[in-house]
Assembly symmetry: C2
Homo-oligomer: 962 residues x 2
C-alpha cells in the first residue's frame, strides 16, 4: 500500500509529527514544507506534538541523536538508522506501516544530522513538484490531487559531493542593497530567512553574507542573523579578506584613536589592537557553525605590506598572523583546532606567499595550515586559475574554489544580470573537482536575482557530482530542461517549454560569446561573415519567443516567468541587440546608407526598452524585486561603470542625387558604380562547393526615388530580382539573392552580374567552383577560397590511449561549448600527456592548392594554466613532420595581464602556429599535452594571408560530405 497525501488525508488529522527534542530549525523547515503541501494540494496540513492527533497518514521527521521517535521506530525495526548514522548531511526517506497507534502509513525522514533532516524534508517538497525557488521567486507548484510514494520506498541520500557548498552575496550596492532596504529595512534576519531558505532548498550548506557595507553579526539586529543561520544549520563563512569572524566593514566602525582595537589595519604597527579585534570577533561568533577565514589582507582588497617588502617578509608576516589566529581560535572557539573548519584564500597576493619561490619556501605544507581548507579561485571571470598538483592534493584541509557569476572589477565588471553559461560552469568546475577541489565551493552571485538558473546548477553539481559532474558530459541541456520543468510544470505547454529551453540556452550562449557589460560597437565585425546579422537573427528569434511567452503566460505565473526567464533573457538580448545595431549603424553611416538612420531609431528603441525592462522588474509583484535591476550595464570603458558610454547614434544626410550603393553581403566590399573609379565587386561565396545561395544588397544613399536594373549575364546564375526601386525613406534597401546552378556551369568559373542604378553602374564578378572533391575522404576540408576554417569537432579521426590505471585517454566533444559550435578537450582532465606516446590526439584532413608555409590559428576557451608555469602545451603535427610541442599561450601570459584581459572579454584565446603543407591532401594531428587545452576552432591560411577580421572567426568552410 502506498503512502498517499491528498486533500482527503489532509482532512483526517495532523499530518506532521513534531518532536520537542527536534532542532528548532528543523521544525521551522518542516513548517515551510507544510506550506509547500498547502500550495500543492490547496489545503494546509496540520502539525502536532500529540501522536493521537495524527491522522492515518503521517510524516515523521527527526535527526539521529535528537529524536526519541526515531529511536523508537528503530527499536520497532521500522527503520535502520545505521544507514545514516555518522554520515554527513544524509537522510533516510522510508515509507513505514503503522509506526504508532492509529497511524497506518507514515513517511519517515531521518537525517544523519540537522542538515540531513532538512534536506530530507525538502526532498518531500521536491517530490511534490515544488521548486527550490518556491519562496525566493514565487514559483507556484503545479496543483496535484495526490502524492503517492511506494509502500516499500526506502531511499538513503548520498553524502553531498562537496563538503561546503554555497554562495556569496556580493557587490550588493546598488541592487541588492536597495532591494533589502526597501523590502526588509536592512541586511537583517528577515531578509536572511529567505536567503537561507533558498540555500537549503538548493541543498547548499554554506554562505558568505553581504559585506560591502553590511555587518552580518550586528545587523540581525544584533546577533539575529548569526543565530538564524545557526538554527538552520547554515555554515557561515567569509570572504578572503575577513579573518576571525569579522566581516568587511567592521574595523572601519570600531577603529579610532581611543579604540581598544587601535587605529591601523596593520599587524605590525597595531598588533595588540588587531589581535583584540580578532579575539572579540571569535568570542562573539565562535559559538556558531562557521568556516573561519584565516590570514590577512589590506583594506579594501589591497595587499597589506608595502611595495618594498620582500617575499620572505610577507611570508613571515602572514605566518605570524595565522599563528596568532590559530591560537585565538584554540582559546576562544575550540581547543582542538583540527575540529574548527578554517579557510585560507590563495587569492591575489596571498598566492605567491603560499607558493614562495626557488629561494624562499612559502606557507605550503607549513604546520600553521594543517587542516585549513586552501581556497583557490577562478580569475573572476569563470576561468579557474592554479589547481593543486598531484602531491598538493593530499593536504589535510583539502581545497576550496571561489567561483564568480558576478564580478566587480577588471577588465570589466558584470553585476547586472546572469551572463553565465552552464557548459562553461560544467567544464571548469568538473576540472576543479577532478583536481581535488572538493571541500568548499562558493560562488559569487552578486545580488542573487537573475542568477537563480546557474546558481541552481552550481549547487546541484556540488551536491551530486556523480549525477552532473565529469561523467555526465554534455548534460547541461538535460539539466536545463529539468530546471525549467521544475519552475514551469503546468505553466507552459510542452511546445512552449521547448521555447523556454531555447530562451535559457540561447541567451546564455550569446552572453557566453560576450557578456553584455563588455559589449560595445566595435566587438562584432559589422559585415564580415555576416556575424552581426546572424547574431541579430538569433537574438530576434529569441526575443520573439520571449514576447510570445510573455503574452501567453497566466497572470499568476507571470512574475515567475518574468523574473526567472524573461527579464534575464530579454535584458541580455536587448542589450546585445542594441550594440549590434550600433555596430551596423556606424558601418552603414560610413557608407552613407540611409539605412543608418533607421538603425539609429532602432537603437533608441532598444535603449528605451532597456530602461522599461528595469522599471518593470522593479514594479511587478508590488515591487518585490525593486532595486535588483539597478546595476550599470551599458558601455563600460573602465573596470567599473564610471564614465560609461552609451552608443553613439550616427545619422546620415541624404545625397542630392538618387545614389545607391551595392554591398556584397558578408564582406566589406561596396561600390556605388562610379564611372571614374573602380566599379567592380567580387562575390566569392560560390567558391565553396556547398554554397548555393549568396546575396548582395542595394541600399539608398539618398532619400530620392532611385531605380536599379540587374542584368545577370551568366546563365548558371539567377538573381531574385531583375529590377526595382528604392525611395530612400520607407524602402532603403533591397536584398538580392543569387543562386547558382552548378550543373549548367560547363567549365566556366566566372560569372557576371551588372547592376545599373540611377547613378552609376556596378559590375559584380561572381567566382565559383564546380570541382568534384569526392576523391578525398569524408571530412576533408578543401581550401577553395584562400583559407580553411574547421570547427574542432569536425576531426576525421580520433585516437584514444589507455593510461597505466587502465583509464582511457580521449578527446571528447563538449557540445555547445564554443563561440560558434562546440569544443574538444582531453579526458581525464588532470593528466599531462606525452605526445606521440600516451597522448590522445585528433586528426584533421585538409587540402590546399599550393605547397608552402601556412598559419594554423587556434580558437580556444580562455583557460588559465593549472600550474604555476603559465603555459598550456599541445602537440601539433602536420603529415609526417615531427610533433611540434607548442605553448598555446602568449609569452609572459599571466592572469591580470593584457592578454588575459582580452581573453576574458572576448572569451577566446587565439594562437597562431606556423606549419608547412604540401599541395593536396594534408593531415593535421592535435595531441593533448597540458590540462586546460580546450579547442573550439582551427583556421588554416597561407602565411601572412589572414582571412578577413571578425569576432567569432571565419565561419566553417567546406568539407567533403558537408
Amino acid at each position: 500500500m502506498e503512502f498517499i497525501i491528498n486533500q482527503e488525508i489532509l482532512g483526517q488529522g495532523s499530518l506532521f509529527y513534531q518532536e520537542e527534542d527536534a532542532f528548532s530549525g528543523v521544525n521551522k523547515i518542516a513548517k515551510k514544507v507544510m506550506h509547500d503541501v498547502e500550495l500543492v494540494f490547496g489545503d494546509a496540513p496540520q502539525a502536532t506534538m500529540d501522536r493521537t492527533k495524527l491522522g492515518k497518514t503521517a510524516v515523521l521527521y527527526g535527526t539521529v541523536g535528537h529524536s526519541p521517535m526515531l529511536q523508537e521506530l528503530e527499536e520497532k525495526k521500522l527503520v535502520d538508522l545505521s544507514e545514516v548514522t555518522g554520515k554527513r548531511e544524509v537522510f533516510l526517506f522510508k515509507v513505514v506501516d503503522r509506526p504508532f497507534e492509529g497511524v497506518e502509513k507514515a513517511l519517515v525522514i531521518a537525517g544523519s544530522d540537522k542538515r540531513g533532516t532538512i534536506y530530507g524534508l525538502f526532498h518531500l517538497s521536491e517530490l511534490m513538484g515544488v521548486s527550490p525557488l518556491v519562496d525566493w521567486a514565487d514559483v507556484k507548484p503545479k496543483r496535484k490531487a495526490s502524492l503517492s510514494l511506494s509502500g516499500d520506498l526506502t531511499y538513503v541520500s548520498k553524502e553531498p559531493s562537496v563538503r561546503y557548498r554555497g554562495f556569496f552575496i556580493n557587490d550588493e550596492w546598488p541592487a541588492f542593497g536597495n532591494w533589502t532596504m526597501k523590502r526588509f529595512g536592512g541586511f537583517n534576519a528577515e531578509m536572511y530567512e529567505h536567503i537561507f531558505e533558498l540555500l537549503l532548498r538548493m541543498k547548499g550548506n554554506y554562505m558568505w553574507p553581504a559585506m560591502w557595507s553590511a555587518r552580518f553579526f550586528d545587523e540581525g539586529p544584533g546577533l539575529a542573523n548569526a543565530e538564524l543561520a545557526d538554527e538552520y544549520g547554515v555554515v557561515m563563512g567569509a570572504s578572503h579578506h575577513e579573518p576571525a569572524l569579522r566581516y568587511g566593514e567592521e574595523y572601519k566602525y570600531l577603529r579610532g584613536k581611543d579604540s581598544k582595537y587601535g587605529d591601523a589595519w596593520n599587524f605590525v604597527s597595531n598588533r595588540e589592537g588587531i589581535t583584540k579585534f580578532w579575539e572579540d570577533g571569535l568570542k562573539r561568533g565562535g559559538k556558531f557553525e562557521n568556516v573561519i577565514t584565516v590570514g590577512m589582507r589590506g583594506e579594501q582588497d589591497t595587499s597589506i605590506m608595502g611595495k618594498e617588502s620582500t617575499l620572505a617578509d610577507n611570508i613571515e608576516y602572514l605566518r605570524d598572523v595565522i599563528q596568532t589566529q590559530n591560537k585565538l581560535i584554540e582559546e576562544n572557539v575550540n581547543p582542538n583546532l583540527s575540529e574548527v573548519p578554517r579557510m585560507l584564500a590563495l587569492y591575489k597576493e596571498v598566492e605567491p606567499f603560499f607558493y614562495g619561490d626557488e629561494n624562499t619556501p612559502g606557507l605550503m605544507n607549513s604546520e600553521e595550515l594543517e587542516d585549513v581548507i586552501l581556497m583557490l579561485c577562478d580569475d573572476n571571470h569563470g576561468n579557474l586559475r592554479t589547481l593543486p598538483t598531484e602531491e598538493m592534493r593530499s593536504h589535510s584541509g583539502g581545497y576550496g574554489m571561489y567561483y564568480h557569476f558576478d564580478y566587480h572589477g577588471g577588465p570589466v565588471s558584470y553585476e547586472w544580470i546572469n551572463s553565465s553559461y552552464l557548459p562553461k560552469v560544467w567544464e571548469q568546475m568538473t576540472m576543479a573537482y577532478d583536481f581535488g577541489v572538493r571541500d568548499l565551493w562558493i560562488v559569487n552571485v552578486g545580488d542573487v536575482a537573475t542568477q537563480e538558473f546557474p546558481l541552481s546548477y552550481f549547487m546541484d553539481l556540488a551536491y551530486d557530482f556523480d549525477k552532473w559532474g565529469t561523467n555526465a558530459i554534455n548534460s547541461t541541456e538535460l539539466y536545463t530542461r529539468q530546471w525549467m520543468e521544475r519552475q514551469f510544470d503546468g505553466v507552459f505547454t510542452e511546445e512552449d517549454k521547448e521555447k523556454v529551453f531555447e530562451l535559457l540556452t540561447g541567451y546564455t550562449k550569446i552572453a557566453h560569446k560576450r557578456r553584455p557589460e563588455a559589449m560595445h560597437a566595435n566587438v562584432y565585425h559589422p559585415v564580415n561573415y555576416k556575424e552581426t546579422d546572424h547574431t541579430l537573427e538569433q537574438i530576434d528569434y529569441l526575443l520573439n519567443i520571449a514576447e510570445e511567452l510573455y503574452e501567453k503566460v497566466d497572470k499568476e505565473d507571470f512574475s515567475t516567468y518574468f523574473s526567472l526567464v524573461y527579464y534575464p533573457a530579454v535584458g541580455n538580448l536587448n542589450l546585445q541587440k542594441m550594440w549590434l545595431l550600433t555596430t551596423k549603424n556606424h558601418y552603414d553611416a560610413k557608407l552613407r546608407k540611409m539605412e543608418a538612420n533607421k538603425l539609429s531609431e532602432q537603437i533608441k528603441g532598444c535603449f528605451k526598452k532597456d530602461r522599461e525592462l528595469v522599471e518593470q522588474f522593479h514594479t511587478i509583484d508590488d515591487g518585490k524585486w525593486f532595486g535588483m535591476g539597478l546595476s550599470e550595464h551599458i558601455g563600460f570603458i573602465h573596470w567599473n561603470e564610471e564614465e560609461a558610454q552609451y552608443p553613439i547614434l550616427m545619422n546620415v544626410l541624404p545625397a542630392n542625387k538618387p545614389r545607391m550603393v551595392v554591398t556584397i553581403d558578408g564582406t566589406e566590399r561596396f561600390c556605388e558604380g562610379p564611372e571614374w573609379h573602380d566599379n567592380k565587386l567580387y562575390l566569392n561565396d560560390f567558391l565553396q562547393p556547398d554554397i548555393e545561395e549568396a546575396s548582395f544588397t542595394i541600399s539608398s544613399v539618398s532619400d530620392l526615388d532611385a531605380e536599379y536594373e540587374i542584368t545577370c549575364e551568366t546563365k548558371w546564375l539567377t538573381c531574385s530580382k531583375t529590377s526595382g526601386s528604392l525611395d530612400g525613406k520607407e524602402k532603403t534597401k533591397e536584398d538580392i539573392d543569387v543562386k547558382i546552378d552548378r550543373s549548367a556551369m560547363n567549365g566556366e568559373t566566372e560569372g557576371r552580374i551588372v547592376v545599373k542604378m540611377s547613378i552609376g553602374t556596378c559590375e559584380i564578378i561572381v567566382n565559383a567552383t564546380n570541382e568534384d572533391f569526392s576523391e578525398y575522404p569524408k571530412m576533408t576540408f578543401v581550401d577553395t577560397n584562400g583559407y580553411i576554417s574547421i570547427e574542432a569537432e569536425h576531426f576525421s579521426q580520433r585516437k584514444d590511449t589507455t593510461n597505466q590505471q587502465g583509464d582511457i585517454n580521449r578527446f571528447k566533444v563538449l557540445e555547445g561549448y564554443g563561440k560558434t559550435r562546440s569544443a574538444v578537450k582531453a579526458f581525464p582532465t588532470t593528466s599531462y600527456y606525452t605526445a606521440g606516446d600516451d597522448a590522445p590526439y585528433l586528426e584533421y584532413q585538409f587540402v590546399v592548392q599550393e605547397a608552402g608555409n601556412y598559419e594554423l590559428e587556434f580558437y580556444m576557451q580562455p583557460s588559465n594554466p593549472v600550474a604555476k608555469d603559465n603555459t598550456i602545451y599541445c602537440g601539433i603535427q602536420v603529415n609526417t613532420d615531427d610533433i611540434n610541442i607548442e605553448n598555446v599561450l602568449p609569452e609572459g601570459y599571466r592572469v591580470g595581464g593584457d592578454d588575459w584581459a582580452e581573453g576574458v572579454l572576448d572569451n577566446i584565446h587565439k594562437h597562431v602556429s606556423k606549419i608547412n603543407c604540401k599541395e593536396g591532401l594534408n593531415t593535421l594531428r592535435i595531441h593533448a599535452v597540458s590540462p586546460g587545452f580546450v579547442l573550439e576552432k582551427l583556421v588554416i591560411y597561407p602565411d601572412g594571408k589572414k582571412p578577413a577580421n571578425s569576432y567569432l572567426g571565419p565561419t566553417e568552410t567546406y568539407f567533403v560530405g558537408k
Copy 2:
C-alpha cells in the same frame, strides 16, 4: 574748358561719332559704352555718321590706320598719333577743342589697334564709374549728374604687361553648361557676346572657350562664335591638348571607319587622317586671330604613346607632330610662320619630352619650337611648377602660364565657388613674371560665376604689372578695396563697405586655409589650441556681416551683392562651418556630451542652408544664374565627386545619472571626476607669461538636472562662477573663465581648482609662471610650456645683402599670406643665394630651459621647386654652428606625388630639422638659398616631443614685448 557729359549735353545732339571705316567690333563696343552712358546719366546718347548731327560735345574714336577722322585730326595737329602708332593695344585719350565744325569739345579715343581702341572706349566707361562687370553681373553704376575731363587731358595708355591675357571656361558641366543651355540655348555667340564683353572690359584679349562638350567653331551656330571673337579682337586659344584649331570633342564627332579623318587619335597609325583633321581645322579657323596650339596629347587628357615607349620615341614622335603642324600652318594660315602665334603646353607628360634627360636631348631649343610660346603651368592648385631658367628665358617665343582658379582633378576638385586668395595669386604670378613668363597668362575659371573677384585681379595684374606686380608688395588689400568700390559705389555706406571688404578678404582667407571641397570632419583638430572654435568664431563674425548687408542692400543692387559677394562668401563659410561643427560633434559625441546633439541640429541647419543658397542663386534675377551652383562641393573622397560623403551626425543618448564632464579648453584633457580613476586635470595656459585668462568647460552627459560647485583653492586665481547647474536639455554646458593675478603669486607656481559635480569631483591643477624675462632682448621667444611657436614675421633682425647689379636682396613680409598670419620670402624671387655670402637672412631669438637636441619645424607655403631638381633649399644656423643647407622638401618630392597632394590640400608644407640648442638664449638664422622658399611659421620643441596635433599648427607662444 573741360570736356563734360551731362543730361543737357546728351540732349544737344549726337555724342558719338561713328566712322564707316571703323572696325565693326569697335563700333559695337562703342554702343556698349553708350549704354553705359545711359546707365550713368539716365539718358541715352546718340551716335551718328553725320558730323552735322553731332552736338557741341563729341566722343571721337578710331583706330590708327582704320580712321580717316583720326588722320584728319592729326593733320589738324589736334592729336599726335605717333604716341600710339605701332604700339600694342594702346590708346590715346585726349580732350580737343573744335575738331569739326560745330563741335566745341571732343574726347578723342585713338587706338593703336582694334583692341587699343576698345580698351580706350571702355576706359571712358571706367572714368564714368562703370564696372567691368556691368553686363556680366548687372553691376549698376552710380548715377551721376556729369562727367568732366580736364580740357588739357592727354593720356596714353601703356602697352599691357602680358601679351596674351585671358581666361578659360572649363569643366563646364554641370554648372556653366546648364546655365548657357537654359539662358542661351547652347554654347553659342549669344552667350559669347557676354563672355567677350567681360573679357574686354577687364582688358583681356585672349580666351580658351568651353571644350568639354562644346565645339566652338561649330556651335555659334556655325562659325558665329569665331566670327564674333574676331570682330571683337578676341584672340582665341585652346587648351594644351587641342592642336591646330580643333577643339576637344571634335574628333569624337568626326571620326569613324568611313571618315576621312580615320578612326584613331594616333599620329603613327592614322597619320593621314589626323593630318587631314588638322589641315581642315586650320583652313576653317586660320583666318581669325588665334594662338594656335601645337603638339599632341592622348584623348581625354592622357598620354599618347604606350607605357613601353622610350623617352626618345616620344620626343621624336612629338617633333614629327610639330613639324607637320608647322608645315600645315605655313600652307593654310600664313607662309611666314614667325607671324603666327603658336603655343606648346609643357604640361603633364609633355614636360619631360621638352626637357629630355642627360642622355636624350628634349625639344628645348629645337627649331620646330622657334617663336612658339612655351606654356608652363601651375600644379592645378595655384602653385607654379618648373619656371624658365635664366638661359631659357631668351627663347624667341617667350613663355606662358596656365593657372587655375578651378580644377577638375586630383587630389580633390574645386569647381563650385571661388576659393582663391589674392595674396597667393600675387605671390605666385609675380614670380612667374619675374621668371620671364610674360607672353601668355591664362587662368582656368571653371564656370566664371563667383570667380569675378580673383579673375578681375588676375586680368589687372596681367594688364598692368607695374601697378600691381612685384613692386607693389602687399597691395591686394588696396586692390580689394578698389574692386569693391567699383562694384558698390553708392550702394553701401563707408562703414558697410568696410564690411564688404572684411567679407571678401575673410572668406577667401578661410578658403586659403582649406578649400571647401577638401574639407571634412577630420581636418581641423576639434579642441587643440581652440583652432576649431576660433575658426568658427571668425566664420560666424563674417556670416553675421553677410546677413546684415543682405538685409540692408537695396532691392536693385541685391543681385549684384548676392552674386558677387554674398553667395561666394556665405557658400564658402557655411560649408566650412558645417564641417567644423561636424568635427566638434564627433568629438563631443565621443565624450558623450549632450552638446553633441545640439551640434547635430546645427549641422543639419548648415546643410539646409547650403541647399537654400544654391536654390536662391538659381532663382534670383529671374533665374539669370540658373545652373551656376550645380557643382558638387561636399565631402569629396575621390578627386571627383563620385561617392562623395556628407557629414555623419553623431547623437548621444543621455546617461542615467546627472553626470557632467570637465574639459580644459584648447586641450584634449577631460574628466568626469571618477572616484576610482584619475580625476586630475591640468590647466597649463598660464605657463605663458602673457596669458591672463584661460578657461574650462563643464558639459552635461545626461539630460538630468545637475549641479556643480567650483572651489578655487588658490588666492591668485579666480573663476567666473562658483556654482551653477546644467539641465542637459536647454543648458548643456557652462564655460568657466579662469583669471590669474600674477602679482599675488608670491613664488607659488601651482594652483588648484576643485569642481564638485552631482556625480564626481574633478581636481584642476593650474600651472603658472610669473618669471620675469625682461633680461632678454625684445622679440625673444621663451619656452615656458614645452615648445616655442613663432610667426615667421616675428624675427628679431633682418640682414639684407646687395647683389652685383646693386639690387638689394631682402626677406620681405607678405602680409596676410599664411594660414595663421603672414609669410616671409626673399626678393628678388629669381635669385639663388649662397648662404653666408650673398644670401639675406632672418634672425630669431629664443630661450630654452635645457641644452640639447631640438626639432625645428617649418610651416611653408606649398611651393613647388622652380627647377627640375625637385628641391628647395634654405640655410639653417643655430648660434655659431655651421650653416646647415637643407632641402625643405621631402625626399622624392614630385608634383602629383603623395607629399604634394597633402600639401595642396592642407596648403602647407612642413619640414623638420634637427638643431642643437644651448640652455638659455639661442639665435636662429634662416638664410635664403633657393627660389620658392616661403616661410609662415617656425615651431621649436625638444627632440621627439612634438606639441599637440593641429591643422594650423600651435598658436604663437610668448615673446618678450608681446
